[in-house]
Amino acid sequence: MFKKVLIVFIAILMVVTVCSAKTKLLFWEFMMDDDTANKVIEDYEALNPDVEIEFVQLSWATGFDKIVTAFAAGAVPDVLELGNTWVANFANEGVLTDISNEVEKFPHIVGWNQSEYDGKHWGYPWLLGTRAMFYNMDLFIKAGLDPENPPETWDELVDAAKKIHALGDDIYGFGMGTGEPQTPWQEWFLPAVWGNDGNILSEDMKTATMDSEAVLEAARMYQELSEYSIKTKSRDLRAVFGSGKIGLWIGQADAITNFSTTYPDTNYMVCFVPKPSNDKGFHASFAGGEILTIPNASKNKEEAKKFIEYLISEEVTMNITKRVPSIFPSTSKASENPWFEDHPLEYIFFLQNALAVPAPQHPKWVDIQYKLSEAIESIVLDYTDVEETFNKYNRQIQTILDDFNN
């Protein structure tokens, strides 16, 4: 009798344990600090008592290596934040979940092209960051330029840079990023090419098109602009702009907070990135974006999708923007958020996001970007011939593409 009671008791205990077991989701991300993440997770767990979120904050210095190692070891999280330029690489390795059938469920989300590779979507756009143009109003006035009408076209930009640089040897018309792997093409050569309706790869990504006229036009403009520019690392450009020695600079929104604390006397404004001419092209900028992905090896894909739906909501993303005002919600609903009324400069970045273009989603983008940066630095630092240089690097990029396709 006692035996039977014990068996029934154990069986009930097991059923209760199984029923009450929480689904544990492992979430790796870069953008939220501990406080923000804890609040976001607490709220989600309160709404979903059967789910427990374990959160790991990755650092930009070591996060990528940790992700690669996790995939190699098969110890992956259920929800993983990836930078938009990384998605194609991981998707090509077949380690991410295809979420293409989810896209229609989120009509308010923009930036889906940032998670697209090989005709499929491999993640949800979460937070978008772009670049806009900062300009020093005092230098504009000194150079006889109208601070109410910043340059809108390439010609106007080069002209303004020339006039500002004429104010003195240590005053620079434009701040041009060099000396780093990404800055030369992100800020701002490649967006200039995109704005000129061109690209460095063909649409099917099988042919290098650095020798196309749209690219060469942008390169000639960039080389001319470099004559009136300071050419250094992005951190230095920010400091030199902050100290009032650069007229125009294309940078990220977090500089606004930085300037207000470190350089409160610098009188500046923000505007859209210039386009080729009044009747051609558009104000393209580089689209940086954070994509939420679900690794293939996750055992909780449905729960992960539900959690991501919550993470990309306006409420959560605006909460992150308020704390990290360099990155903005991927949902267009956020445009009506009252926070932007008090932050007009950040709002320009939010609007610029609509014109932002992501880097080509090619698995060999890392190799391609190095070649592209070398080509740009060659024409602006050593003033090499534009056609010759770009033809040379076009061949090198073509070799990378051919090796990949074979």
């Binding site: 290596d65 190699a72 390795e93 000396g179 690392k233 230095d236 100290s243 190095y370 940066s373 630092l381």
Partner: protein, 291 residues
């Protein structure tokens, strides 16, 4: 169990923690990466394809690898004479019995060795920046300084990192050479002086010959360390601008962890191993000849 057998078991039991750790975290990765160097392997998914010597041949046809090789040799040749020379000079000065505050100087010179290279690199990145220490000092001294980072120019980036590296490294070698100097018996100097030997003769006939084993050790470990330069490049330049600071270890890291070519990255690592082995053997022959 016999006493000797028991002793052997005891010995093995005490050594086993280290042996197990070495086997798992040292030997296995070394052998695994050697095997991987003959394959095409991304590291992310388990697919591995045997390609024979292709990765090794590819390295010598790869323009960036050859630049990295050249830069690494430049770095090694450009830093070791200064690091060792300065360390030797300071160690000799510290060995002077009349010098006061020896311990303070030893600690001061050794200090950079206990600071993480990443921290040192970050501090020096600021010092080299457009409005950093070097540009500010230059301007104050009346030089026309460009408003750009020393690390943003292809001409100055690598020499700037080498300068920092000499500063960060020499203190450690001062201590090693100083210990070597201390181990030379005082009687030899006294005997030489009685025989009428001058300072130069004492230095060349007693100090330097007896210091040779220490100098060999210093040069050998300095060479190995310099060939493996990574954290400075990773933190300060990422190999740029235009690969002007690209070095072998940084490039193999990029190839393995950024481009997902673990096979090729492993092959580069083994090429580096061969280079270091050959150079160390040459050094051993040259420097140990008369020891």
């Amino acid at each position: 169990m016999k006493r000797k057998t028991r002793q052997r078991w005891f010995l093995f039991a005490f050594l086993s923690p280290w042996l197990i750790l070495f086997a798992v975290f040292g030997l296995y990765p070394i052998l695994f990466s050697f095997a991987v160097s003959f394959t095409q392997y991304s590291g992310i998914n388990p697919n591995m394809k045997f390609v024979g010597l292709e990765n090794y041949i590819k390295a010598f046809q790869d323009e960036v690898f050859l630049i990295a090789l050249k830069n690494t040799f430049f770095f090694v040749v450009g830093t070791i004479p200064f690091t060792t020379g300065i360390a030797l000079l300071i160690a000799i000065l510290l060995n002077n019995k009349r010098l006061k505050g020896k311990d303070f100087f030893k600690s001061a010179f050794f200090l950079p060795s206990v600071i993480s290279m990443v921290v040192i690199s970050m501090i020096w990145t600021y010092m080299y920046s457009s409005n950093g220490l070097f540009n500010t000092l230059g301007s104050l001294m009346g030089f026309t300084m460009e408003d750009r980072s020393w690390l943003a120019s292809t001409k100055t980036a690598l020499p700037a990192i080498m300068f920092m590296d000499v500063w960060a490294a020499f203190g450690y070698y001062v201590i090693l050479i100083f210990a070597g100097l201390q181990s030379i018996p005082e009687q030899l100097y006294e005997a030489a002086r009685i025989d009428g030997a001058g300072s130069f003769r004492i230095a060349t006939k007693i100090t330097l010959p007896l210091l040779k084993p220490t100098l060999f050790f210093v040069i050998a470990i300095n060479t190995i360390r310099s060939f493996q330069i990574f954290s400075e490049i990773y933190t300060m330049t990422g190999g740029g601008p235009r690969n002007s600071t690209q070095t072998i270890v940084h490039y193999l890291y990029e190839v393995s962890f950024r481009k997902f070519e673990m096979g090729y990255g492993s092959a580069i690592a083994y090429i580096l191993l061969m280079i270091i082995m050959i150079i160390t053997l040459i050094q051993k022959r040259v420097l140990r000849k008369e020891v």
